[in-house]
Assembly symmetry: C2
């Protein structure tokens, strides 16, 4: 029987649990008020129904991307494959270097697009809900493009993986 550890803080309980969970990896982008590209690697992106087609993700309100995301009309949602490992790492590292390469362009509605992603959705921000130090962003899909076929990229136990064979 599982032993609920009442001596543990709730924060420690959460931190002990989440290494057991795996997440899909995506890259979220937008333009800031000056038209500069902004973006980050997210492990919280999920769909919120297909009709209307909504997606959601969370962002820390202390993150470098927060101000731009909170003001954005449109966001780009990139699903990543195993071949996008370098992109996933770059978009989670020094925010001043994320768009230094020539692997992105300004796409529909000014959303920065990485054409190497396995797919991209362009979605209109509908709600930004502040929750403690984070925010949940809900956006409605307007356009999409599917890219190269590749194994999905996962984040699990502080590392990147792709799915193993079917169970």
């Amino acid at each position: 029987m599982l032993d609920f550890n009442t001596a543990q803080t709730p924060t420690d309980a959460l931190l002990a649990t989440f290494p057991r969970h795996a997440s899909g990896v995506s890259v979220i982008t937008c333009s800031d008020a000056s038209g500069n590209p902004v973006g980050f690697t997210a492990t919280s992106m999920t769909s919120l129904g297909a009709n209307p087609p909504l997606i959601m993700f969370s962002v820390a309100r202390g993150a470098s991307s927060w101000e731009a995301i909170s003001q954005a009309d449109y966001v780009g949602i990139h699903t990543l494959g195993a071949g996008n490992l370098e992109l996933a790492k770059r978009m989670a590292a020094d925010h001043t270097k994320r768009f230094e390469g020539d692997d992105w362009r300004s796409g529909p509605n000014g959303v920065p697009v990485f054409d190497c992603a396995t797919s991209v959705l362009v979605a209109k921000v509908q709600q930004v809900i502040n929750v403690a130090d984070n925010a949940i962003v809900i956006a409605q899909v307007e356009l999409g493009a599917v890219g190269a076929e590749d194994a999905a990229l996962l984040y699990h136990q502080r590392g990147y993986h792709s799915p193993g064979s079917a169970l």
Copy 2:
């Protein structure tokens, strides 16, 4: 360069994209107003900061679990491993048979607990946000227990997987 398909409906764009994404699998439980166990398999569960320790997930407001979840004070969040494949399938199938076995018990705050899970968090519901036909539930972790070590369970391309080796 990715080709944004303007002839495609936004719903079709979302549906074409999400097979490229993988998700961690969890089981969410609660008690209904009569004290009966209710629960479902979720692929949307994610943390929303560790301090305070919050989790969130989405649920369809047409789902069998919705009424109970919308009224619950506490929810149980179970991360699953490869060894929980049968549980994941059962909690996504006929809702009248999900608690027929003897593999669950009433845990802290009346939350149904599956001891076979790789971890369980007991969390107090803080906000339920309706968005179109779905809802986002935000809950604050109060207690946790870590179970058997196992490979994480993923959902990807209509099937279950565990992570492959690190990239």
